[in-house]
Every structure is written in structure tokens, then in C-alpha cells.
């Protein structure tokens, strides 16, 4: 069907207008029935108007959630049944969505109350005192559910458990674990994490806070020497935190030993700010106002020697610096470990946010109509327009891909070993950047796809844009992270070439094989073939890595240092980072497909995978720019997308249902929006 016959569209619209005009006036009864349309629109749930599901949506949800489905449902239950989560009845259905009309102060207060409620109900049991993969996965699952309700809630938990608690776990030793972990789990102490400063964000090594050791008292002295060294954006600092991890340069006997982490108390049990600590509020933000971000100055505060988190390095009572890691670069790397957990949880939360947006926008598009195409016919469902399909369905396919990618990343994280720390760092950086960018783009598209309804706070999508925007810069600016990915790939390349050894890590082993060849003519069957899809991603990554390496070395020969040589080649670096991420995500999709085992998933998953790949090929100019696809190839790819969309269209409802977001966590326009907006 071709819907862009303007004349048809106009005549259809005109008929509607006439029909309304004639109603009640015309004496010609037969004529009236012919052109009259129903005087009122009625809502038909998509469950009735759409075909029955072709696959088991519960099992698909299990595949996508990946773990702890029952625990997730339990937490959804707790939130739905509590009055603290802003239950509202709209159109005969219960919704639980935070009230974003509340002031910043109210949002902060209610967020802390919600945490108290979850604490009382045992939600955090084992979050820090538990051991093993099972308890880590459970914690991740529950945090994701918290993020589906409200990003502020999840971030507030993330700071306390993953950043503060994680720092104590990873940098501390037994004495710190004994003293702080259980107290943290029970909120006897409330922790925050002071890393970022006004003058330094992503470049942690440049922070200006200074710590010295006073051997006469056995204390460290922490100081904020200048305004740019004030700690900034510290979540929890403005109101609630009693303790903080402080990142600071450690100066021992006049020598800077680099960035180290300390524990400092900033408030007493009654919430009074401690002496020699100054705290100010970061103020109102474009989202995430339930989190009390603050600024901290340390005026030569003194902390006991024991408060140095000493798993990496220690200072003896008489002031001697001791570290088992001699290389300062490696030592610094060891300190960055908790940020990995942050990137993992951010990436996972981004996917769930995209799921909420898509579930709402797609359900709405299956019930909302606009314009008739032919005279006297019904208006057309939004999702029956190919253009609307093209806007939403590739994003849906990508969200499936990224869901599998997030699961892979989580498993990599919970099963981490020292051998895998490089892989974890690179994959978490790449996925965090790509998944959070995908979320923001998806939300914007969904908000536009809902028209004016997308603007209403109660419909969630528009608000989510503000709430999740921060994801693209915190725990590492996305652009900086992507440059780091490229640098890591370059290091692999250089090392392999120098030692003349095959590539092993970071999924680069495809570089050991012959360069893939892309067929001149791309038929539909070829495009849908996973071998072709593999090849095109391999080819792009391989070629960009070779180009990047060549350019960097060219600049180095001209006298640039290594750093400068990659800085000037930022365009290749960005393309390469994306190539790595897309290829890795694709591989996680293929793995999920193979592991699913359910026969009814076979065709739908391969359709989603192909749509993910085609849409990636279509949108990233790199494939044309560097000639991986000829202009004819690119045209074939583009032509394939509407076909894929029309094949996905009958499954749209099943695909968003399988996201497993309970109705109450969507919004009124996802259901009977006429009842929800009726008078009374």
C-alpha cells in the first residue's frame, strides 16, 4: 500500500468533515448511513484488535530479563501496594508513577522515604553482605526495577550501595568490611562518593584535593586547596549522607603517590554537618531532582589512619608509603573498579527506560488513529503507516539487541576475574555509551510519536528524557568512553603486531582470519543472512582499526606524541568505537538466539536481529564513507527496512508485552486513554 497519495488523503478527510456536518440534517437516510462515521471514537484494547501472539511472551520476557524474574515481580508488588509510590487511578486502572510536579525538596524527601520503606521490607538484604553470583544478580535485578519506577530512586540506591558500598568492598580490607558493610546495608550510615570536582570530572587523575599524613597523631589531613577542588555533583551530600569516600592526591614525604580513597564522616547521626566540612547544594536540575547532589569543601579535616582504604596501598604508622602495585598507572586502574559497576547498572537501566517508552508509544499507536486513506473508510491506525513503523520498529529491534547486550555485560561483571578486567572495562565503556545514547534517542522518538500526549508528565515519556539525560555523561562522558575503547583496541593492535601474535582479546580474533568479502549484489536473502551480517561488522571494525593505527603512527612519525596523535584522529576513533560496540552487541544477540532454544522464537528473533543490523547499516554513514557498502548496496539495505517493518508490525504488541513492564508502570495513554480523559 502506498499512503502518500495526497489527494486520497484529502478526500478521506473531507468526507469525515462532511459526514459530521450532515449528521442530523440530511433527510436522505441511505445517504446518511453511507457517509456517516461513528459519532464517537471508542477505545478498543490492542489485545482484541491485534492477532494472537505467535510466541510465548512470558518466556520471551524471561529471556530478556535474563534472571530473577520472580524477585522483580516481588518488588513491583511492593511498590504497587504501598501508598508511598504515588498510586493513582486513571481510567479504571492503577498507575504508580512518581509525582514530578513536586518541588525538588519534596522529591528528595519522598525518595528517602521510599528507600526507608524498601529497607523495612528487606529489599536490600544481602546487597553488601551477600556473597556470590546469585546475590549480585538479585541486587542488579532489584535495582533495575527501582529504575523502572524512578531514576532518582535507583541513583540514590546506586550511590549508597554501589559507589560508597562498592568502594568499601573493593578498596577496603577486612577492618573496613567489618565496620561498614552491614551498617551500610541497614542504613545506619548513609554513604556518598566524592570523586568529581568542579575542575575535574572524567579526568580523575587531575583532581586537586590533597591529603597528607601526620605521623605525630597517626591521622590523615584532607584539604580542599582551591575553589576548583570543591567536590561537585556528590549524590546524597546535600542532605542525607553521613559519610563519604574522598578521592584525593596522597602526598607522602613531599611525593605525590597519586589518587587514593579515604573515608570521612561529614554529618553526625542527627544530620548536623561535621566541623571543618562545608556543604552546599547543587540546586535544581533538568531531572533527577529526587537526588540531593551537593558540593563539599574539606578544611584540613583529620581522619584516623585506618580510614585509608588500603587494599591497593597503605601508609605505615610512621608515615611510610607501601604498595604492592608499583606501577602508578595500574594502581590508578585498580581504583576505578567501582565505576565499572556504575556503568553496568547504567547500561541496564537505559534499556529498561527505552522499554517503558516503546511499550507506551507502541501501545498508543495500536489504538490511536489519524486520517482516512480512502473515502468512507476508517481512519488509519498510527502503526499502520509505514513511516510510523519506520520510526518505532527499528528502535524496538535495537532495544531487543541492547537488552541482550546488557545481559551479557552483567554476566561479564558478576563473573569477573582479574584476567577479564580489561575486557570488562572496554565492554562496559562501549555499552554504557551506546545503550544510553540509544535510550535518549528512543525516548525522543517515542515522545514525538505520541504527539501532544507525549508532553504530559503523567504519560512518562517526556519526563523520562529529563530524568535519564544525565546517563550520557555520568560515570564517564560517553564520548570520552568511546575514545578509551578505541585506544584499548589500538593497544591490542600494536601489541599483536609488535609480537607478531594472533589477536585474542576483546573479540578481535576475527582479525586473524582473511578479510571478509562483501558480495557486489545484496539480495534480501543475503541481507538477512547472519554470516553476511557478521562479515559486514567484522569488516568495518577491522578496517577502521587498521586505518586508525596507520593514522596514529603517521602522526607519531611527524613528531606527535601518542596521546596527541589519537586526539587529532578523533573522527576515526569515534567510528572505531562504534564499530566495536555494534559488532559486540550483534554477537550478544546471536548468542541469545542460540541459547534461547525455544522454537517459536526462531523466526521472530532472526527478524529482530536483521532489523537491528539493517537499521545500523542504514544510519551509520561509515559504511558508505569507507566503502564497506557500495551506494547500490546501501540502497538495497534501505529498501529492506520497510519490508522488515511490515513483517514486524503484526508482532509489535507481543514484542512490547514481552518487555514485562507491568501495566501500572506504563501510563494512561498505553491503555484506555478515552476513559482516562473522560469528564468525571
Amino acid at each position: 500500500m502506498y499512503f502518500y497519495r495526497k489527494d486520497m488523503e484529502k478526500s478521506g478527510f473531507r468526507t469525515q468533515v462532511l459526514a459530521r456536518h450532515f449528521q442530523g440534517y440530511s433527510c436522505d437516510k441511505s445517504r446518511t448511513t453511507l457517509i456517516s462515521s461513528s459519532p464517537c471514537l471508542s477505545y478498543v484494547p490492542p489485545e482484541f484488535s491485534e492477532k494472537p501472539f505467535s510466541f510465548d511472551v512470558e518466556l520471551m520476557r524471561k529471556l530478556m530479563d535474563g534472571h530473577n524474574v520472580e524477585d522483580r515481580n516481588w518488588l513491583f508488588n511492593l511498590m504497587v501496594q504501598s501508598n508511598l509510590f504515588n498510586r493513582k487511578l486513571r481510567g479504571g486502572k492503577v498507575f504508580v508513577v512518581p509525582d514530578y510536579n513536586q518541588s525538588m525538596e519534596q522529591q528528595r524527601e519522598i525518595t528517602m522515604k521510599r528507600i526507608g520503606f524498601l529497607l523495612d521490607h528487606g529489599v536490600f538484604k544481602g546487597w553488601l553482605t551477600g556473597q556470590g553470583v546469585e546475590s549480585e544478580l538479585r541486587k542488579l535485578a532489584l535495582l533495575e526495577v527501582a529504575a523502572i519506577f524512578d531514576h532518582s530512586l535507583a541513583i540514590k540506591l546506586g550511590v549508597h550501595f554501589f559507589l560508597w558500598g562498592g568502594a568499601v568492598q573493593f578498596f577496603g580490607t577486612k577492618r573496613h568490611h567489618d565496620k561498614w558493610l552491614s551498617a551500610t546495608e541497614n542504613y545506619v550510615v548513609k554513604g556518598c562518593f566524592s570523586m568529581t570536582e568542579l575542575g575535574h570530572g572524567s579526568n580523575v587523575r587531575g583532581i586537586e584535593t590533597v591529603t597528607t599524613y601526620d605521623s605525630s597523631t597517626g591521622e590523615f589531613v584532607i584539604n580542599t586547596p582551591c575553589e576548583s577542588a570543591q567536590k561537585y555533583w556528590i549524590g546524597g551530600a546535600a542532605l542525607h549522607a553521613t559519610h563519604t569516600i574522598v578521592f584525593s592526591q596522597l602526598i607522602i614525604n613531599g611525593k605525590n603517590e597519586g589518587v587514593h580513597a579515604f573515608i570521612a564522616q561529614i554529618r553526625d547521626a542527627d544530620g548536623n554537618i561535621c566541623p571543618n566540612i562545608r556543604i552546599a547544594d547543587c540546586g535544581h536540575k533538568i531531572g533527577l531532582n529526587g537526588v540531593d547532589n551537593g558540593r563539599i569543601w574539606f578544611d584540613n579535616i583529620r581522619i584516623p589512619r585506618d580510614n585509608l582504604l588500603n587494599s591497593v596501598a597503605d601508609v605505615s604508622p610512621n608515615g611510610e608509603y607501601l604498595s604492592s602495585i608499583k606501577d602508578p598507572d595500574q594502581r590508578f586502574g585498580a581504583f576505578m573498579a567501582p565505576l565499572t559497576s556504575g556503568r553496568v547498572t547504567i547500561a541496564a537501566a537505559a534499556v529498561y527506560s527505552a522499554k517503558v517508552g516503546l511499550a507506551i508509544a507502541i501501545r498508543y499507536s495500536l489504538t490511536r488513529r489519524a486520517f482516512s486513506i480512502t473515502p468512507n473508510s476508517n481512519e488509519v491506525l498510527l502503526l499502520d503507516y509505514p513511516s510510523h513503523q519506520h520510526r518505532l520498529l527499528p528502535l524496538l529491534a535495537k532495544t531487543y539487541a541492547m537488552s541482550f547486550a546488557a545481559n551479557y555485560l552483567k554476566m561479564l561483571y558478576v563473573k569477573r576475574t582479574p584476567d577479564l578486567s580489561k575486557t570488562l572495562h572496554v565492554v562496559s565503556s562501549a555499552f554504557k555509551a551506546i545503550l544510553t545514547w540509544h535510550n535518549m534517542r528512543t525516548l525522543q522518538e517515542c515522545r514525538e510519536a505520541c504527539g501532544g500526549q507525549g508532553l504530559k508528565t503523567e504519560n512518562r515519556i517526556g519526563q523520562l528524557k529529563g530524568e535519564f539525560d544525565v546517563q550520557s555523561t555520568f560515570e564517564g562522558d560517553n564520548n570520552v568512553l568511546m575514545q578509551q575503547v578505541s585506544k584499548a583496541l589500538l593497544a591490542e593492535y600494536v601489541a599483536a603486531n609488535k609480537k607478531n601474535k594472533p589477536f585474542r582479546e576483546l573479540g578481535l580474533d576475527h582479525m586473524n582470519k582473511p578479510r571478509p568479502v562483501i558480495p557486489w549484489q545484496l539480495t534480501s536473502a543475503t541481507l538477512r543472512n547472519s554470516q553476511f551480517q557478521n562479515d559486514i561488522f567484522f569488516l568495518r571494525e577491522r578496517d577502521l582499526l587498521e586505518r586508525f593505527a596507520a593514522e596514529v603512527s603517521k602522526y607519531q612519525l611527524q613528531g606527535y606524541n601518542k596521546e596527541m596523535a589519537s586526539v587529532v584522529n578523533y573522527q576515526l576513533a569515534e567510528d572505531l568505537g562504534r564499530a566495536f560496540a555494534d559488532r559486540s552487541i550483534f554477537q550478544t544477540f546471536v548468542e541469545a538466539e542460540m541459547s534461547s532454544g525455544d522454537a517459536s522464537f526462531k523466526s521472530i528473533l532472526s527478524l529482530l536481529r536483521t532489523t537491528y543490523v539493517m537499521s545500523t547499516l542504514d544510519e551509520d554513514a561509515a559504511f558508505l564513507r569507507y566503502g564497506y557498502l557500495t551506494p547500490e548496496n546501501a540502497a538495497s539495505v534501505r529498501q529492506e527496512i520497510p519490508k522488515l517493518c511490515s513483517e514486524m508490525r503484526p508482532h509489535a504488541l507481543a514484542l512490547v508485552t514481552a518487555f514485562g513492564i507491568p501495566d501500572a508502570f506504563l501510563s494512561p495513554i498505553a491503555f484506555d486513554w478515552i476513559a482516562a480523559n473522560s469528564w468525571s
Partner: protein, 379 residues
């Protein structure tokens, strides 16, 4: 009306009084247990009334001292599973039609309301309990689980009353039903006749009109002393029954039992320990999932569960429960697996999957014009 008179007409009596239809469950010897014929007849009547513009409201009541004591599960347990599945399929579709019925259903719960009796009334707009009401979802003692849409309507009760009622099978009186929201009104049984007449006379399908008429005949009962629904007990009830797993709930109850000698805690513990481990585990999961989905999905899920239960491949507790409670009446069922620990998460999970059989199909619900269940606004 002749077309509507299938077989077994006398098991449901039909009276037409102006725009009201009065349906009386008429199997008093069996305490009005729902037979297959009654289910078919009720379904047929409800569907017909929806099309019939002269019908404005539907009154449902029971003959004798029972409203309805449930589905005729003893018959199911003794028959083959094919017939059993067909029974539940029809019953759940009837529940769905009631839940999405556009005309107000008023149920007079003047006596026993158990299991399927709950399913025949709780989905409707108005539920009137009396001093003679006795409500329970006792399925966990039978090796079954609260079905007939209970995962929908029990999960919508405030806090965790739903879990309490579902897992313990506790018996509630009319006042308690009102306290938790299972009934929308409480009236003395002696007033029911005049209440009925007033509704017939009002000749209205407007819920607010009907509600104000019922209110004229209702009064506020006092909650019995030992009830768990007293305000001061709700905290403990919610704290215990909001726990994540059955084991955690029992542990929390035991901790409470140590601290206070409240009778309701001891009897809740006793019932849960006596119940089929399979039953309480799948019941908890059913209500937790049910709380997050609409009434249609709840019934589809329960249908999967009940098919697994009556096929008995994972556990045969349903047959053992029916034997011990309904047939031999030795009240001493031997559950298998016998302990909660033996009934693994994977076993629980399998009750929620499709039945692996060529001819088996998920419950197919009829397309409805009114999809917003009445129950949500009241419960």
C-alpha cells in the same frame, strides 16, 4: 427465553422483574456447588442479558444457607482431565464475562461463599455480605490454588490481605469481608428482601443510583475481636505477608508468634503448614503475578496452572486433597512433595508454562466491548 433453556434448567432459577433479572443458584443440597450445567447456564444468561437492552441489572443469590460453595471439584477429581479442563475453561470464561460485564451485577452473599462462589460474585460491581456470610478460598488445603480470577481480585485487596486469604484459606465473616473490600456493602439478612424490591423498583443500571439504594439498607457491622483486619494487626499482617517467599512469610509469622500470642497468627501458621506445599507455592506466585496484570491475563495464567494441577504430572496433591477432604474425609492428606524445600522454584515455574500437549490450547477469551473490570474500582 425458550432458546436459553438448555438442560438442567432448575439448577439456576431465573426471575424477570421489570428490568432486573434475578438468578438463584438452586442446588441447595450441595450448598449450590457449581456444576458444569450451572456454569454453562450462567454464562449463557450473562451473555444474553448484555445484548438485551431491556435488562438493566442482574441479581445473583443462592438458595438455602449457601450462596455458592464453589466449583464441583470432587466431580472433576473423579472424572478424566479432559472433562475437568473443559469445566474450568467454561468457568473462567464465565468469570471473565462477569468481570467485563457492562451491566451491574449485585450478589447477595447471604451464606457460604467459597472458591468458585467467590469467582461468581467478586468480579461483579456490588457484593453484599450479611451476618450469615462465610467466605473462604480454601483451595490450598485441597491441593489446588485460588483460581476463578482470585489472582486478580484478591491481589487488589489493600496491602497483603490477598496473600493472607489465599495462602491460609482463612474463613471470613460478613464484617471482615466488608473490612477488606471483598464485599462492597453489609446488610442484615432480614433486610435483603426489601433491598431486592427496592432495586427492582429503581429500574436503573446506573451504578451510583444502585449504590445509594443498597446503602439505605446497609449498616456498619462490628469486626469480631480476633479478626486479623483490626487496624492494630494490619501492620503485622502486611509485614509478614509482603515477604518474598513462602518460607520467608512463615519465618516472619513464627517470629511474630514468638513475640505475641495473637490467635490469628497461630492459626494462619497452622493452616499454611497443613496445606499442600505445592499449592501455597504456586498460589503465592499466582497472586504476585496477578497483581501486575489485567483480569484476562490472570485467568489465562490460572487456566495454565489448573491444567497442570489436574494432569498431575508434577504433583498429584489435588487428587490426594480431594480424597482426604471431600471423599474419604479422613482430613489427613499425604502431600508429595511433603515439604516446601522439596518443591523447587523450577517446579513452581512449570505450572506457569504452557501445557506440552498437541491439542492443548491457552484459554481463549471472548472479545468484549467493556474491558475495564468493575472490581478494580471497589476492591
Amino acid at each position: 427465553m425458550a432458546a436459553l433453556n438448555g438442560g438442567a434448567t432448575d439448577q439456576v432459577l431465573v426471575e424477570e422483574k421489570s428490568c432486573a433479572r434475578i438468578l438463584t443458584l438452586n442446588r441447595p443440597k450441595q450448598l449450590n456447588a457449581l456444576s458444569a450445567a450451572m456454569v454453562s447456564r450462567l454464562l449463557e444468561l450473562f451473555l444474553a442479558y448484555e445484548e438485551d437492552s431491556s435488562v438493566k441489572c442482574i441479581l445473583l443469590k443462592g438458595k438455602g444457607r449457601s450462596f455458592c460453595s464453589g466449583g464441583d471439584v470432587a466431580a472433576v477429581a473423579q472424572g478424566d482431565w479432559g472433562a475437568g479442563e473443559e469445566f474450568f475453561r467454561r468457568e473462567y470464561i464465565m468469570n471473565y464475562v462477569m468481570a467485563t460485564n457492562s451491566k451491574p451485577q449485585i450478589s447477595l452473599l447471604n451464606g457460604i461463599v467459597m472458591g468458585g462462589g467467590g469467582g461468581a460474585s467478586m468480579h461483579g460491581r456490588f457484593r453484599i455480605s450479611t451476618e450469615k456470610s462465610l467466605f473462604a478460598m480454601p483451595e490450598t488445603a485441597l491441593g489446588l490454588f485460588p483460581d476463578v480470577g482470585a489472582s486478580y481480585f484478591l491481589s487488589r485487596l489493600p496491602g497483603y490481605m490477598g496473600e493472607y486469604i489465599s495462602l491460609t484459606g482463612v474463613r471470613l465473616d460478613g464484617a471482615e469481608m466488608l473490612a477488606c473490600g471483598l464485599s462492597t456493602h453489609f446488610a442484615l439478612s432480614e433486610k435483603l428482601l426489601s433491598l431486592e424490591e427496592a432495586i427492582i423498583e429503581a429500574d436503573s443500571s446506573d451504578a451510583s443510583v444502585i449504590s445509594s439504594i443498597i446503602s439505605k439498607f446497609s449498616h456498619t457491622p462490628t469486626l469480631k475481636k480476633g479478626s486479623a483486619f483490626h487496624k492494630h494487626r494490619l501492620n503485622v499482617l502486611n509485614k509478614c505477608f509482603s515477604q518474598r517467599t513462602v518460607e520467608d512469610i512463615i519465618e516472619a509469622l513464627e517470629r511474630e508468634a514468638d513475640e505475641n500470642k495473637d490467635e490469628w497468627i497461630a492459626s494462619a501458621l497452622q493452616s499454611m503448614k497443613r496445606a499442600s506445599p505445592m499449592s501455597i507455592k504456586i498460589s503465592l506466585r499466582s497472586i504476585r503475578q496477578g497483581r501486575l496484570q489485567g483480569v484476562g491475563k490472570c485467568l489465562i495464567q490460572e487456566f495454565r496452572m489448573v491444567c497442570h494441577v489436574i494432569r498431575g504430572k508434577i504433583s498429584r496433591d489435588f487428587f490426594e486433597g480431594c480424597r482426604a477432604i471431600l471423599l474419604d474425609k479422613d482430613k489427613n492428606p499425604k502431600w508429595k512433595p511433603a515439604t516446601l524445600a522439596e518443591f523447587s522454584d523450577e517446579m513452581v515455574e512449570s505450572y506457569f508454562l504452557k501445557v506440552n500437549h498437541n491439542e492443548w490450547e491457552d484459554l481463549k477469551l471472548p472479545v468484549r466491548s467493556n474491558t475495564t473490570p468493575f472490581a478494580v474500582s471497589k476492591l
